[in-house]
Symmetry: C2
Subunit: 420 residues, 2 copies
C-alpha cells in the first residue's frame, strides 16, 4: 500500500468520482523539481494540483474559517497568491462538513479556484481545543466554540478533508509541546507514525495529495527517526510539524535544516506554521518548498506592515504626516491608492477598512518576497539574495516575539481564534 | 449678501484658490430641475458640483470618519455611488482639519473623486458630544473621543468645511430634541437663522455650495416660519433638519411634506439623516432630492440585508442551506460571487469580510432603488412605482425600530460612533 502513492506521483490521474454522463476530468498532479541552488539547499519547483500549477517555494496565506481574513478571493488572485491553507478543525466545527460538501466543497463554498491545502486539525486539537484524551484510536476534545465533545481519528481526519476537497491534505498528527520530555515526544512521534499509516490506508480520493508530518520535537535523533520512517512510506509530500511553537528561533532553524536533508529530494517539503520573512528565507536555504502562517495577516490587523527593512507599525504618530504611500517602493493596491497618513488615520479610528488595506499590503509583500526568492534560485543568485535580504531586514526582537506569542496564546484559549 | 449666492447659482464659476502657474479650473455648479412628476411632488434633477454631475433624487452613503465603513472608494464607484457625506464634527476632532488640508483636502485624503457633502457638525454636537453651553456665539462641547473642550461657531463651522473641501457644505444649526417645548424649539430655530446668516457671511470659497437647514421641530408654524425665512436668504440648497430623531414616522412624513412645499422649486432639497427605503420613497413623493443615512451600512454590519420585499437577517439559520445568492434578482458583487450560506457562515464566525459583503449588497440596493425612482420620474410612472414598491416592501416594525434606535443611541454616547 505504501508504494501505491509513490508509483502514481507525478503521472496522469483520473478523478475517481464522476457522475453518470459527466466527463472524466484528467489532472496531472505531483511535484517537479526545476532548479537547485549551487551554494545552498534552496530549490525551485512546481507543484501540480487539481487547481493549477503552484511555483515553489510558495507561501500560503491562512484562511482558517473559509476566508483569508478581510480579503476576497479576487483580492488574493490580484495579489498573485497561488495557494491558500484552510483549517479542517475549524471547518469541521463550523459550518460543518456536511454543509461544505453540500455547497460543492470548500473551493466552491468560499469562491477560491486556486490551489488549497487543509491542515488535518492535529495542531488545533492540541493547542486550541480543551483536550480530553489522546489514545491510539484518536483525540477526544471539547470544541473551543461551544464546548461540545468530539473524537477525531486518523480515518475521520481523512474523511473530513476529503469532504472539504482541498488539493493537498495532511495526516493527523500528535503535537507535543516543545517543553515535553524525550519520552513523551517519542511516544507522540510513534503515534503520529501509526496514524500516518492509517491515514494513508483511509484515503479514497486520488485527486488529493496526502502529506505526512515529521514530528520528534527538538530531539535530533527523533527527527531523524521520524523522517526516515515516514519517507519510507512513500507519501506525496512531507511536512515538518511541531516547530515554531515557542522554542528559540535558532533551535527551529537547526531542526529544520537537519530534518530537511533526510527527506526525499523529489517530494515537496512543507514547513508548517512558518512564518516571518526572515524565517522563510532561512528555511528556503535549508531546502523547504512550502510555508503557511497567519503572521502576515494577523500582524497587519495590528497595524504592523512589512518593508524590506523590517516591520513598522503604521499606528505610530510619525506616519500621520506622510502624504505619500507607506512604502514608496511597494506596488500593492494599498500603497498605490492611499497615503501612510490615511492608513494611520483609519487605524487610529479602528475603521474596518484599515485591516483590509494592511492585509493586502502584507500579503503583497510576502508574494513579492517569494517571487524574488524563486527568481534568485532560478538565476543561481539565491545565496547573495539571502545575504542582502538579511543585511537589510531587521527581524523582530526575539524576546518581544516570545512574550507576544505567549500573550496571544493565552488570549486565544477558548475564545475566537485565528489559526490555532 | 443674500442675493450673491442666488445670482451665481448654476453659472460658470472659477475656483478661487490657485497656485502660481496652476491652470484655473472652471466648474459649472448649481442645480437644474429636469422632470416633475404629474401626480406627486416628485422631481428629477441634476446637481452640478466641482466633482461631477449628480442625478437626483440621490442617496448619499455616510463616510463619517473619511471612509464609508468597510468599503473602498473604488467599490463605491463600482456600485454607482455618485455622492457621499462626511462629518465635519468627526474629522475636526480626528485627524484634525490641518491634517486634512495638508493632505490635499478630504477628496484627496480618502481617495474619493466623486461629489461630497459635509455635515456642519450641528447634529453631532447636540447628540454625540457632551454639550456644555450653547449661546449666540456658538456651541461649547466636550469631544466624545477624549473629553477635550471645543467651541464651534457658525464662522468656524464654515472655515472647517472650507478646509475639508466638500462640494456641498452645511450651515451650523441648533438641533432641539423632538420632545422639547414649543418655546425651546422656537428659540433654537431663531438661533439657527442667525447662525445661517453668519455662515453665509463667512463663506469665502465659491466652488462649494452652502445649504441652509430648516428647523422648527414638529410644529408646523415654526417649520413654515423657518422655511420662509431661510428661502428668502437665497441659499443654493435647503435641508430639512431635526427630523427622524425618534418621533413617529407618520409625523416625520407630515413635517417633510409641509416643509418641502415652502421651499424654492429651483433649489435642491435635502432631507438629513433619512433613511430607510420606504422613507425615501415617501419623501421623494413630497419633492425631496437628496438623502443621507447610515442605515444601509449600519444594518448591513448587523446582517440585515435589503430586498424588494423588505429587510432580512442573513444570520438566520435558514440561510445556511441556501446554495444560491441571498437575492437571486440582485446584481451586486456579493450576490454575483457568494452564496447566502457562505454569507451566513461569515456572519456566524464574525469574519470581517462579512461586513464588507453585506455593505456592498445594501449600498447596491439603495443605488438601484434611486435609479428606479429617477427612471420612474423621467418616465412619468413614479406614482405607480411608489404604489408597487410599498405594496411589496415590508418596512421595519415601528415599535421595534424605536426601541432599537433608543438602545443604539444609549450605547453610542461617549463611545465609538458611526454617524451621530
Amino acid at each position: 500500500m505504501s508504494l501505491r502513492k509513490e508509483e502514481v506521483s507525478f503521472c496522469e490521474r483520473t478523478r475517481n468520482r464522476t457522475e453518470p454522463g459527466e466527463e472524466i476530468i484528467h489532472k496531472i498532479t505531483g511535484f517537479r523539481l526545476t532548479e537547485s541552488c549551487p551554494d545552498t539547499c534552496a530549490r525551485a519547483g512546481e507543484l501540480h494540483t487539481a487547481h493549477g500549477l503552484v511555483s515553489t517555494p510558495v507561501f500560503m496565506p491562512v484562511g482558517t474559517q473559509a476566508t483569508v481574513k478581510t480579503v476576497t478571493p479576487q483580492e488574493l488572485r490580484d495579489i498573485g497568491i497561488q495557494m491558500i491553507l484552510a483549517n479542517a478543525y475549524h471547518l469541521y466545527l463550523r459550518p460543518g462538513i456536511e454543509q461544505i460538501q453540500r455547497m460543492g466543497e470548500l473551493h466552491n463554498f468560499m469562491g477560491w479556484d486556486g490551489a488549497m491545502l487543509t491542515d488535518s486539525g492535529g495542531y488545533q486539537i492540541f493547542s486550541l481545543a480543551r483536550l480530553r484524551e489522546v489514545n491510539d484510536e484518536g483525540a477526544t476534545f471539547l470544541s473551543h466554540i461551544d464546548g461540545s465533545q468530539h473524537l477525531i481519528t486518523p480515518e475521520s481526519a481523512i474523511t473530513i478533508q476529503e469532504s472539504i476537497g482541498a488539493d493537498v491534505i495532511m495526516v493527523l498528527d500528535e503535537c507535543p509541546s516543545f517543553e515535553d520530555s524525550f519520552k513523551k515526544v517519542e511516544q507522540a512521534m510513534h503515534r503520529t507514525h501509526r496514524w500516518a499509516d492509517r491515514c494513508q490506508q483511509a484515503q479514497k480520493r486520488s485527486d488529493q495529495e496526502l502529506f505526512a508530518i515529521i514530528q520528534g520535537g527538538t530531539f535530533p535523533e527523533l527527527r531523524q527517526q521520524s523522517a526516515t520512517y515516514l519517507a519510507s512510506m512513500g507519501f506525496t509530500g512531507y511536512a515538518i510539524g511541531g516547530v515554531s511553537l515557542g522554542e528559540p528561533k535558532e533551535l527551529t532553524r537547526t531542526i529544520v535544516g537537519e530534518t530537511a536533508t533526510l527527506l526525499p529530494e523529489n517530494k515537496p517539503r512543507y514547513l508548517m506554521g512558518v512564518g516571518s520573512p526572515e524565517d522563510i528565507v532561512y528555511a528556503v536555504d535549508k531546502g523547504i518548498d512550502m510555508f503557511d502562517s497567519v503572521l502576515p495577516t494577523r500582524v497587519a490587523r495590528n497595524g504592523a506592515l512589512f518593508t524590506w527593512q523590517g516591520r513598522f507599525n503604521i499606528r505610530k504618530s510619525c506616519y500621520s504626516k506622510i502624504e505619500g504611500p507607506f512604502d514608496p517602493t511597494c506596488n500593492c493596491y494599498t500603497c498605490r491608492n492611499f497615503s501612510a497618513a490615511y492608513l494611520n488615520h483609519l487605524f487610529r479610528c479602528e475603521e474596518l477598512l484599515a485591516y483590509r488595506l494592511a492585509t493586502i499590503h502584507n500579503l503583497t509583500f510576502m508574494n513579492t518576497l517569494m517571487n524574488k526568492i524563486r527568481d534568485s534560485i532560478v538565476n543561481a543568485t539565491f545565496s547573495s539574495f539571502k545575504k542582502d535580504f538579511l543585511a537589510n531586514y531587521k527581524g523582530t526582537d526575539e524576546k518581544l516575539r516570545m512574550s507576544q506569542k505567549e500573550k496571544w496564546l493565552a488570549s486565544q484559549q477558548f475564545s475566537k481564534v485565528d489559526r490555532g
